[in-house]
């Protein structure tokens, strides 16, 4: 009896998950369908770029700096064993541009901007602002959701680039200024080894994918949240958890596709 009940529970959760994925996909389609209005009135996107992008700057800059400093320290300790300290710049730059920049920036973006988007839209629903908009013959997907989606998609690669730049600066500060690695080899080896198309653009592509996925999850969870305090809080938690898992899973798939055989 317990086994049947457990199986029934698993089945129910699976069906629910498939339903939600289907609903989220349909929601994504609706956003794309209603995006024309956002681009015709670009000031709506700019307003959202401020709250998703600009307001995330501090956390991205500070986190990027410290991650780069840690990379500089750890990298120096490892490379020193093989007498390759001069390759510190390459290690820091490749680690950040290919991997840590897009992934950590996306995780921070999901926690800072994604959760805020979910809470904001969930509360708009709970306080009947979304219903009011519908009653005013204004489509909430076009007016509220689409501008936020494009703001998320645009700001994520920029934030990831900023994270990587700050990380490289942090690595330089620890490696060159504090430890004394040769400055010329730090920069020249980095310049020689980091390929713009293969490394930088693939990192940008990753952050674009992460930005799209995180923003869709955040907006869907907010729009789908039950209009209660508990519903909004649950949706916000789901945004952070689901986004983080999606980022890490997609990172593996994208890394395997981009760098797997090289």
């Amino acid at each position: 009896m317990a086994i049947v009940s457990a199986l029934r529970g698993i089945g129910r959760r699976t069906v629910d998950t498939v339903w939600r994925i289907g609903l989220a996909t349909r929601f994504f389609g609706l956003i794309l369908f209603h995006s024309g209005n956002s681009f015709r009135r670009f000031h709506l996107i700019i307003k959202e770029l401020f709250s998703t992008g600009v307001m995330s700057l501090i956390i991205i800059v500070v986190a990027g700096l410290f991650v780069g400093m840690v990379l500089g320290l750890q990298g120096y300790e490892t490379l020193k064993r093989y007498g390759s300290e001069s390759a510190l710049g390459v290690m820091v730059a490749l680690g950040l541009v290919r991997e840590l920049g897009p992934v950590v920036a996306a995780l921070l973006f999901a926690s800072r901007a994604g959760s805020a988007m979910t809470a904001e839209i969930g509360l708009m629903k709970a306080t009947e602002q979304v219903s009011a908009m519908e009653m005013m013959a204004v489509n909430p997907i076009a007016r509220i959701v689409a501008p936020r989606f494009w703001a998320g998609v645009i700001s994520m690669p920029l934030l990831a680039a900023l994270f990587s730049a700050m990380g490289v600066f942090g690595g330089y500060f620890v490696g060159v200024v504090q430890i004394g690695v040769d400055e010329g080899s730090f920069w020249s080896q980095m310049q020689a080894a980091v390929d713009f198309k293969h490394d930088v653009m693939n990192g940008v592509l990753k952050s674009f994918v992460f930005g799209t996925v995180v923003t869709i999850i955040a907006l869907f969870e907010g729009y789908d949240a039950p209009p209660t305090a508990e519903g909004v809080s649950g949706a916000t938690t789901r945004t952070v958890v689901t986004s983080s898992l999606a980022i890490l899973m997609l990172d593996f798939i994208l890394t395997a596709m981009m760098f797997g055989g090289s």
């Binding site: 904001e120 306080t127 009947e128 602002q129 908009m133 009653m135 013959a137 489509n139």
Partner: protein, 243 residues
């Protein structure tokens, strides 16, 4: 139910009797399983999305707690529909917004955010937003809920005056018997999803129907029981009857 042009109609009844559901049907947010709602000669549930949105532009709805957009100022809230649905120049929108706010006595609040308003003020700003495009049908969902006596009278008076000034038809869903009977032309009284009484305010006040009398006079005894149906009380308290 019929709502004639220019009239202010109240729909009253206990919580859960279907009043707000009725408003949602009029606004096309719900599809009826039986019957229909006809507004301006068109059956609402037969309209496609474009038709429904065109119809909603002729309607205004005041939500229970105003539902002002919290990320916009009072000015932007009132200007919202004008910017969304018209090509009016910003100078004209400015004048119209201030006129609408003046009509509800809150011209001086145009720079404030909704969080800086009291409950009564928020309701009046929402009222200004509701009539921003001079709708032919205005719906009010519990407009008096949670208001102090002064705000309550002010909002009631505004609903009456705006309806007359705009030549609109207004439907007020409310629990507030005394305030609404002062301002409305006709009342429908609902219970369990059906109309149990209708008439002018005087007819409702003098109605001998149990439901209406209990509701209008706020009596404890009547067809609406105090206790929610439950099992045997003694059994719930684990008491044994002495033989």
């Amino acid at each position: 139910m019929t709502f004639p042009k220019g009239k202010l109609i109240a729909i009253m009844g206990l919580s859960g009797c279907g009043k707000t559901t009725l408003l949602r049907h009029i606004g096309g947010a719900l599809t009826p399983t039986k019957g229909y709602v006809k507004v301006d000669g068109q059956i609402i549930h037969e309209l496609d999305q474009a038709g429904l949105y065109a119809m909603r532009r002729k309607m205004g709805m005041l939500f229970q707690f105003g539902a002002l957009f919290t990320d916009m100022s009072v000015y932007d809230n009132v200007a919202f529909q004008m910017r969304e649905h018209t090509d009016l120049p910003e100078e004209l929108i400015h004048d119209l917004v201030l006129m609408k706010l003046h009509a509800v006595g809150l011209r001086g609040t145009h720079n404030l955010m909704p969080s800086e308003l009291s409950g009564g003020m928020a309701r009046r700003v929402a009222l200004a937003r509701t009539v921003a495009l001079d709708p032919m049908l205005i719906m009010y969902d519990e407009p008096f809920a949670g208001l102090d006596p002064i705000s309550l009278t002010v909002v009631g008076d505004l609903i009456r005056r705006l309806n007359d000034a705009l030549g609109a038809t207004s439907v007020v869903v409310t629990h507030d018997v005394q305030e609404s009977l002062k301002i409305v032309d006709y009342v429908y009284f609902m219970a369990n999803g059906v109309i149990v009484e209708e008439g002018t305010p005087d007819e409702i006040r003098n109605s001998q129907k149990d439901w209406v009398r209990q509701f209008v006079h706020g009596e404890i005894e009547g067809p609406v029981p105090f206790h929610y149906p439950g099992g045997d009380y003694r059994q719930d308290l684990n008491l044994k009857v002495k033989s």
